[in-house]
């Protein structure tokens, strides 16, 4: 079509004032059909110049308006201006149409296979260990009740781990702890790996004045290893010392904790007398559960499951921390973090907790941003 353009350029020169209305109509028909036939933007631009450029056919007609009489102009003006408007519109519409077609053609050529996988691959997803997750859950629950988190060293002295906690030297209760010892140092003192988180009770009571409300999560150690015991495990302990807290308050706290942790509306609890050197009276706590097909569920059923040990802090322990047991009183409780994690999330074995098998972590681990909150529910 491009070669037809010179024809239009030549035509206007032959037109004079005396042109006929039929000439205008013919020109319009000719121009519009050329626009419609234009195949690209370059051809369209040539057409625009041939019609509306300085030397263009329509421009030439427009120029004739200036030398017309008012009557002539009144008659021919609308015809010529109308021609210009319609050609301009046609050109704009055609241009926009051509642009769309060009974009569509480009996009069609740019197709990719959107089913190709993105990164990261499935086995590269970060996970939080269930122990960390459960510690975060515990912290959240107890923070809401006003408990701070206290911590202490893993390498402990006999005093903090046993003596201050009212374990008499040589007492069978001490032997039941299967303690890891270090070699004696030059002074003959033999340190040990804490067998429970309870030494932090002593460290807290000697460092801080009552009222005290803390939970104490951490690693603990006993030289014991079989299907259900690992030489390293995790405990969480709670301690309250003030001037009036008693077993009734302890029961309320434990009930609130069990409801919040196991995420059940209600949980029945059973207290049984027991023995721990550092509490008196000492209590073991069972919670109501059902066992169906190997699965333990809380907040329902007729069965009982032992979950923790607790009691009123022994007067000797309070005294050992420099406080008067007739003035101050309180309670403590302790339980296995690994165990409650296994119970809540249905993990059958303890040993894989410490084997760093990525398949286990991918299955039992938690997403990085699943930070337990009271607002959003503890577990995602």
């Amino acid at each position: 079509m491009a070669k037809a353009a010179p024809t239009f350029r030549a035509r206007p020169r032959t037109l004079l004032h005396g042109f006929m209305m039929s000439d205008i109509a013919a020109l319009e028909a000719e121009l519009l059909s050329a626009v419609a036939a234009a195949s690209d933007e370059a051809a369209l631009e040539n057409l625009r110049i041939a019609a509306l450029g300085k030397q263009g056919s329509v421009s030439a007609l427009l120029k004739t308006l200036g030398s017309m009489t008012p009557e002539e102009r009144k008659e021919k003006g609308p015809l010529i201006n109308g021609l210009r408007d319609r050609v301009t519109t046609a050109l704009a519409e055609k241009r926009s149409g051509l642009k769309d077609a060009a974009l569509d053609a480009r996009l069609a050529a740019e197709r990719v296979d959107v089913t190709l996988p993105v990164r990261p691959s499935d086995n590269a997803r970060g996970r939080i260990h269930p122990i960390s997750q459960v510690i975060d859950e515990l912290t959240t629950i107890f923070a809401d009740m006003g408990f701070a988190v206290a911590e202490g060293p893993d390498v402990e002295t006999d005093f903090y781990n046993f003596t201050a906690l009212n374990f008499p030297v040589g007492h069978p209760a001490r032997e039941m702890h299967d303690t890891f010892f270090f070699n004696p140092d030059e002074t003959g003192e033999r340190k040990l790996l804490r067998t429970h988180t309870s030494p932090v009770q002593i460290r807290t009571m000697t460092a801080q004045k009552p009222p005290i409300r803390v939970i104490i999560p951490g690693r603990t150690y006993r030289c014991d290893s079989d299907q259900t015991h690992t030489p390293m495990f995790h405990q969480v302990e709670g301690l309250v010392i003030d001037k009036g807290s008693h077993l009734g308050h302890l029961k309320w706290i434990l009930e609130e904790f069990c409801k919040a942790f196991f995420e059940v509306a209600d949980v029945k609890m059973r207290f049984r007398p027991s023995f721990f050197p550092f509490t008196e009276p000492s209590v073991e706590v069972d919670i109501q559960c059902s066992r169906k097909g190997g699965e333990i569920r809380f907040g329902e059923g007729e069965d009982w499951l032992e979950i923790l040990g607790c009691g009123m802090v022994h007067p000797n322990v309070i005294r050992n921390c420099g406080l008067d047991p007739d003035e101050y009183q309180g309670f403590a409780w302790g339980m296995g973090i690994d165990r409650i994690a296994m119970l809540k999330y249905g993990m059958p074995d303890l040993r894989p907790f410490f084997e760093a098998d990525m398949r286990w972590m991918a299955h039992y681990g938690f997403r990085p941003l699943d930070l337990p909150t009271l607002a959003g529910g503890l577990s995602a």
Partner: protein, 808 residues
């Protein structure tokens, strides 16, 4: 602690059911661990008459028996027992019965072509004894068709309770009965069996307590009595049954009596055969290296810490732990010496532990035997010997003196409410204490409570509170709301290091790393390799040689974990741990390390091969990115952080760095793990790692308010200019960046390296470092001339600091 219901009823007058007793035991703190009711297991077995026992037509060793089980219709049973014979009485199990000894359920079958329904049983098959020589041979007068449990008087449930270490009194059945009586399950029967048995003459064997003054506590009292003319042999069936029911093997009447008293009263005794004892008995510390052949048939080498009983020939018994083989009683014993002694709990515990001997006697002595029962114990044993074996007793010789501890506690009844919140009526508290053997003196709100001699654990008010509430029912504790202390409502509960520990885990997990928890202890060689292995951090009793030393770093555990995953076929392991590391044994030497490792293709953007680009293993910059992402997540400003080339020895020297704030505060390191380290850990690389010690990170600047500083935004567009410098290979990119920044402190807001090039156009031994500098005008738009001038200063400064030339 095991006992049977009938045995309990020797001491407890009760009509309550087994179930109620079991519930009550757990309720008062004697947790029931198991109940075995033979009546249930043996219910189907009946006494039967073997009408005929004929040779099996097809098997030499089998007999075809016609058995009458009492319902008149003989049953045909094929029996392989050698003692099966016509006319005998035995025990029959009908088809469908579970046979405990064989762990099968018997049915109707055909044995070698002859039908057989059910079976005739041995004691072994019933799970009653080891005897599987033949079927049970009942006396000829045994009735037919009776339940065997009724015939054999086996309808006696066994109860197993867990006794906590503070309750030595519950290691005797009478103590358990006392608790149940106090809890309202019946009444404790009067104790007639311990009344003194008159003896004739003195015990002819002398006893000398040969101890230094400081050692007298090792044996405060030793009572000995002789019974002459006894006839020893198997003990009567009722006694054998009880001992068997609690898992003891009957031996002979004299030995069985000592075991019986041990369980009946928590009072261990010992018996010597007089004819095997030479001269008098001496009680003393063992001599180092002295040996004794004990009743378990083993020879023990003794140390002076252990107390022994010696006669003219040598050591005859390890005090309070185990008797000697030489002087033990057997069927030939005619004159028996009965010993009831008191031993020091601590010493028995230590000796028992060092000898590795666990006996019922040791178990009781180390928890505390009632001193006041020393003589009643010997009376009880004497009475039983006379009853079962006959004979004539002498008087009792007591060496030392039986102590009678007398402890009194001033007890305000209000203490129960104070510690437990439970309202227990005063009368109930008083009654409970008295039922448990405490004497309550006084009438006011505070009373004097005398502790019975069998309760060494009760020392103060809190112990009495426990006694009262465990009997009242500790389940009476009612839940009492315990609200948050109003003063602490807005206070954060986590310390900075606790918050950072939490955040570090989430930040690393968000980078595609999986959280591992590895052992706090590692092997010695590994610990040494990572700068640890100090003697004060070595365990004296490790559980395994590769778990012997506290870890100085998380890397050995993580690298080995990564390798284990690789060995399972998952080579692209990205693992982290945030946990304690140990530089020494003091509390302050324990710090929290956050450590990440990446193996093979486990890169931050995703592990393994990817269709979009060529696979490259994780490199030092991935580790560096982990370190910096962690610092960013923890809000630690990295402006003043120095990256000093070269990390600790376990890193590749050329591909690692130490991170520090100034020369002293080293916060960690990152890099590729040294090939020799990998070799030492039996791991294959490449593995890269980043370690940050969270405790060493600077705390955020203390700010007076939570309000953030005012945000100032420039109205003028920033300008970016690129420069390519040619520098020596040894020049650190960081120095180029620092110099560019320093050239124009106010205008330059950012400098980044966008290319490092070696090759054509760059001389050998040099590299081109291309940087992009961002200039942020503050007051007005910069003119070309001003930008040009700044560029000049940058080039000058970089050249001055690094010897760089602008690349042409």
């Amino acid at each position: 602690m095991k006992f049977t219901l009938s045995w309990l009823k020797d001491h407890l007058d009760t009509t309550t059911s087994l179930d109620e007793i079991v519930d009550a035991l757990t309720r008062v703190g004697l947790e029931v661990e198991g109940v075995e009711d033979p009546a249930k297991a043996l219910a189907p077995y009946v006494t039967a008459h073997v009408i005929s026992a004929e040779q099996h037509p097809n098997a030499d060793r089998l007999r075809v028996c016609m058995v009458d089980t009492g319902d008149g219709k003989p049953i045909q049973v094929v029996c392989g027992a050698p003692n099966a014979r016509t006319g005998m009485k035995s025990v029959f199990s009908p088809p469908g019965t579970f046979i405990p000894g064989k762990n099968i359920t018997i049915g109707v079958g055909v044995v070698r072509g002859v039908e057989s329904a059910g079976m005739l049983c041995s004691a072994y098959e019933l799970g009653l004894s080891d005897d599987h020589e033949g079927i049970i041979d009942l006396p000829a007068d045994a009735p037919v068709g009776l339940r065997y449990v009724d015939y054999a008087d086996l309808d006696d449930p066994m109860i197993d309770v867990a006794v906590t270490p503070n309750r030595p009194d519950a290691l005797g059945i009478r103590g358990i009965a006392r608790d149940l009586a106090a809890a309202g399950l019946g009444t404790l029967k009067p104790d007639a069996a311990t009344a003194p048995v008159p003896g004739k003459g003195e015990c002819p064997v002398s006893v000398t307590l040969d101890f230094a003054v400081d050692d007298k506590h090792l044996c405060p009292a030793f009572a000995l009595r002789l019974v002459r003319g006894v006839k020893n042999g198997p003990s009567p069936l009722w006694l054998q049954r009880r001992l068997k029911a609690i898992g003891l093997r009957p031996i002979n009447a004299l030995v069985d009596i000592t075991n019986y008293v041990t369980f009946d009263r928590g009072r261990p005794l010992h018996v010597f055969d007089l004819k095997k004892v030479e001269g008098g008995l001496v009680v003393r510390r063992a001599k180092d290296g002295e040996e004794v052949l004990a009743l378990d048939g083993r020879t023990y080498r003794l140390e002076s810490g252990t107390v022994v009983i010696v006669d003219g020939k040598g050591v005859e018994s390890i005090a309070g732990i185990m008797g000697g083989e030489h002087s033990g009683c057997d069927e030939t014993t005619t004159d028996v010496l009965i010993e009831s002694a008191l031993w020091d709990a601590l010493n028995i515990a230590r000796s028992g532990r060092s000898l590795g001997i666990n006996t019922d006697a040791r178990y009781r002595f180390e928890r505390g035997v009632d001193p006041a029962f020393t003589l009643p114990g010997i009376e009880l044993a004497t009475r039983m010997v006379l009853d079962l074996c006959g004979g004539e007793p002498t008087g009792t010789h007591v060496a030392g003196a039986v102590p009678h501890p007398s402890k009194t506690i001033a007890f305000p009844f209000a203490e129960v409410k104070r510690l437990t919140g439970i309202d227990v009526p005063e009368a109930e508290m008083r009654a409970t204490l008295e039922a448990l053997g405490f004497a309550v003196q006084g009438t006011g709100s505070t009373v004097e409570v005398k502790v019975p001699t069998w309760r060494p654990d009760v020392e103060g008010k809190a112990d009495l509170v426990e006694e009262i509430v465990r009997i009242a029912g500790i389940d009476r504790v009612t839940s009492t709301p315990f609200m948050r202390d109003p003063q602490t409502v807005a206070a954060p509960v986590l310390t900075l290091i606790q918050k950072r520990t939490r955040l570090a885990k989430r930040a690393l997990a968000a980078r595609g790393l999986m959280e591992a928890i590895t052992w706090s202890f590692i092997g010695k060689a590994e610990a040494e390799h990572f700068g640890g292995g100090k003697p004060e951090l070595a365990l004296a009793n490790p559980i395994a040689s590769d778990l012997s030393d506290m870890r100085p770093s998380l890397l050995p555990g993580l690298i080995k974990a990564a390798q284990r995953n690789a060995d399972r076929g998952f080579g692209d392991a990205a693992l982290f741990e945030v946990g304690q590391v140990f530089a020494g044994a003091a509390p302050e030497d324990q710090t929290i390390s956050a450590t990440a490792v990446r193996r093979a293709f486990a890169r931050p953007e995703g592990s393994g091969r990817f269709w979009g680009e060529a696979a490259e293993p994780a490199d030092v910059f991935d580790a560096k990115a982990d370190a910096f992402a962690l610092l960013e997540a923890l809000g630690v400003p990295t402006g003043g952080l120095q990256i000093v080339p070269g990390g600790p020895a376990w890193f590749h020297p050329g591909r690692s760095a130490t991170l520090q704030f100034g020369p002293k505060v080293v916060i960690g390191a990152f890099g590729e793990i040294h090939p020799r380290t990998l070799e030492a850990l039996d791991a294959k690389g490449p593995i890269v790692a980043a370690e940050i010690i969270l405790d060493r990170l600077p705390p955020p600047k203390a700010k007076p308010t939570k309000v953030k500083p005012k945000l100032v935004l420039s109205d003028f567009q920033p300008v970016e200019r690129d420069f390519a410098f040619v520098v020596d290979e040894a020049v650190a990119a960081q120095d180029v960046l620092k110099a560019a920044q320093a050239a124009e402190r106010t205008l330059v807001t950012d400098v980044v390296v966008f290319d490092v090039y070696r090759g054509t156009g760059v001389p050998e031994g040099k590299k081109s470092v291309a940087i992009a500098v961002t200039l942020q005008p503050v007051e007005k738009t910069l003119t070309d001339a001003e930008i040009e001038a700044v560029g000049g200063r940058i080039v000058a400064e970089v050249s001055k600091k690094t010897g760089a030339t602008l690349r042409g």
